[in-house]
Symmetry: C3
Subunit: 316 residues, 3 copies
Amino acid sequence: MKLQEIANIIGTEFSGEDVEITGMNTLKDATENELSFVSNAKYVKDIAISNAAAIIVDEKTKEYVPDGCVALVVDNPYWSMAILSKSFAPLIEDDELPHAEIGEGSKVSEKAEIANGAKIGKNCTILAHVYIGAEAVIGDNTIIYPNVTVYRDCMIGSDCIIHSNTAIGADGFGFATNKLGQHKKIYQNGNVVIEDDVEIGSNVSVDRAVFGSTLIKTGVRIDNLVQIGHNCEIGEYSVFVAQSGSAGSTKMGRNVVVGGQSAFAGHLNIAPFSTFAARSGITNDIKESGKTFGGFPLLEQRTWLKLQVKIARLLK
Amino acid sequence: MKLQEIANIIGTEFSGEDVEITGMNTLKDATENELSFVSNAKYVKDIAISNAAAIIVDEKTKEYVPDGCVALVVDNPYWSMAILSKSFAPLIEDDELPHAEIGEGSKVSEKAEIANGAKIGKNCTILAHVYIGAEAVIGDNTIIYPNVTVYRDCMIGSDCIIHSNTAIGADGFGFATNKLGQHKKIYQNGNVVIEDDVEIGSNVSVDRAVFGSTLIKTGVRIDNLVQIGHNCEIGEYSVFVAQSGSAGSTKMGRNVVVGGQSAFAGHLNIAPFSTFAARSGITNDIKESGKTFGGFPLLEQRTWLKLQVKIARLLK
Amino acid sequence: MKLQEIANIIGTEFSGEDVEITGMNTLKDATENELSFVSNAKYVKDIAISNAAAIIVDEKTKEYVPDGCVALVVDNPYWSMAILSKSFAPLIEDDELPHAEIGEGSKVSEKAEIANGAKIGKNCTILAHVYIGAEAVIGDNTIIYPNVTVYRDCMIGSDCIIHSNTAIGADGFGFATNKLGQHKKIYQNGNVVIEDDVEIGSNVSVDRAVFGSTLIKTGVRIDNLVQIGHNCEIGEYSVFVAQSGSAGSTKMGRNVVVGGQSAFAGHLNIAPFSTFAARSGITNDIKESGKTFGGFPLLEQRTWLKLQVKIARLLK
């Protein structure tokens, strides 16, 4: 899309070359054909290091945009970004894509739906009522049980098992809100990447990224009814017990163990080999690896246990 | 159904006219062709204002039933109501209903099932393995992702997005229990009404009402794995983060924000612009709007934070 | 499978007869044609009472294996058991099984998939996009709403209702972990047995047993988004409110009531007629019946309420 068209959509003008824009991205990750935005003062510092062709800013922030990068000045950059995100959303299904490719030895139920552009590897088992979206890619030997939905562009590795009624790649929970309290959807144009040897239980939700990928690394085990927010990264061999979840953009090292009904706030960094007892509530980074935590607010598990003894004494 | 037939089903007699009864409802909402019941002393006062043709009561309560309204006297009115609820339940599917109507420009997968009597508006996208029940109505431009189930009689507005594996209109959790501890299903003969511009995540459960409607108003955003109980009303532009939920009959004003894993007890009234931090447990009405709460038992969020500091001091 | 083949798979040798092994089981439940294992010191005492033909043990434990029972000595018996579990897993679907049997008066959607070997009783309603697995058995008058998955070998009784997008019999969350932190799946070769008059909500996960059965007894009511772990037993007329769950192998008596978002640890015994308030966290056996509990750590509900008053006083 030409920059002029973008400016028209969000009702602004610009000076500079009317270049072709191929997508939107964060300031850090945007390439020279992409558009970015500043919606929060803490990202102003990223303007200087951005390769973006153009950046949506407000009046206060426009001065930070360097020469050679177009400033698109609007009242509410986050809202404008939300409006534009729709323009970059691909079609849900696309008849012009080639028919799906199914690898040798794979067994695909006639009652599954494999959208055009999808690729399924060798020796997979795809059961009835599974949906594999456009340009999704599945590795070899992977089993997908009935009523699983894999949204478009998602990638699942080899030797994976996905249990029934799980949704891989539904939209992350993203929207801008205006002063009237109305919401505008931010289209989630990223995807989900699941590496090899991952097993995911039933009724799990793994959301697609807004930009880039939500990433589930090799050997992860996810139990039933778990929520993985957009842009999370789950380290190798990590374990999520039933009904636990993570808000968006939290990154975990390898072999993190998450007890049942535990939950992470968004944008955290969790050290490898961390263990969280059932119903932990994690709201801060975990920097030292190998420790065990519990409670909400979170404490080291042995401290939490000690605290419960002290609390119980209040009854006397 | 004639009143005599109803009396026979629940094993009682009555004096009065053998009128035609078209349905059951609460005392307050019952019309003059409907049946109602009193199962709880706190509703006795509603008898006087009810338009019901007949009311199921026990021996103690029958004296409150005014002239012109038939009293059906039984030992356990709630149990009798449960028995009768089945008689008023419509067929799950009905071959005699006309074929579904699909609006211009709508794309419905051949692998979706649109039951007879359903109506789908213009320019909708209904993907594979979606089920739209009898007499359900979908507005224009609405997208329903794979493996979503919309039960019969439910209504979804225009410009909505419903993500995969979500169930709209499954039965609310209702049953009567007798002295032996056995349960009798209360058929949920209401529906779900979702207004325009609503987005609902994956693996969400929005239950149908026992009478009337469960209501999700314009602009609401619901994340994944959320539970909305029967007869709830969710105000405009409210936001439910993942794994939160509400028991039945709770009514919320507009722009209520519900943090992840939070939950509401049933039958509450929540002021508009209330915000609940993650894992809030709300068991009482919120009367003043614009406040932020947290914890279980619930406190104002800043009070909850202060309390956590005090609790942590117990360790010293 | 011959014992020699089993020894080859797990890289060990044995002395004794090369008998035919038909399955794996716990020490207590293994028959004389089955293989068992000792992975935890607390089960060593069960070796003496086991009828197993052979037992996988480590060097330290082999001395407890009596004459007439073959000891298969390995470094990590649990890991070896996990490897072998795959050998005993049946095919997901089996073209050689006879076509499904559908009882008189049952209405099965053409868009449902009933796998070979399944049996459906009389007067059932099986809606679109339901999957009934191989050799699954459904009783009479049972209603299964769209997008439900019933995995192979599971049994559902008569007069049951299963709501949309629920998964019955997905694999329990079982794996062995080695010193490198890698996981090996333990195939869950048991099933789920649901007795008569059970209603299960939408988006529920009831996992199949690793050996034997996960059991949901007569008259149970399960609300939406509930997790029932492998090998649980839920007593007659018990009630699980939305978003509650139980880890594996917990056994409950009849009429246990579980509030919303409550959860049980695994391997517990819960007395009949126990009631748990919303968000209870149950980590110990409940031995006395008829009591009401709440909180996490769990207390009697009235004690928990008293404690909250004491805690609130800390603010003064």
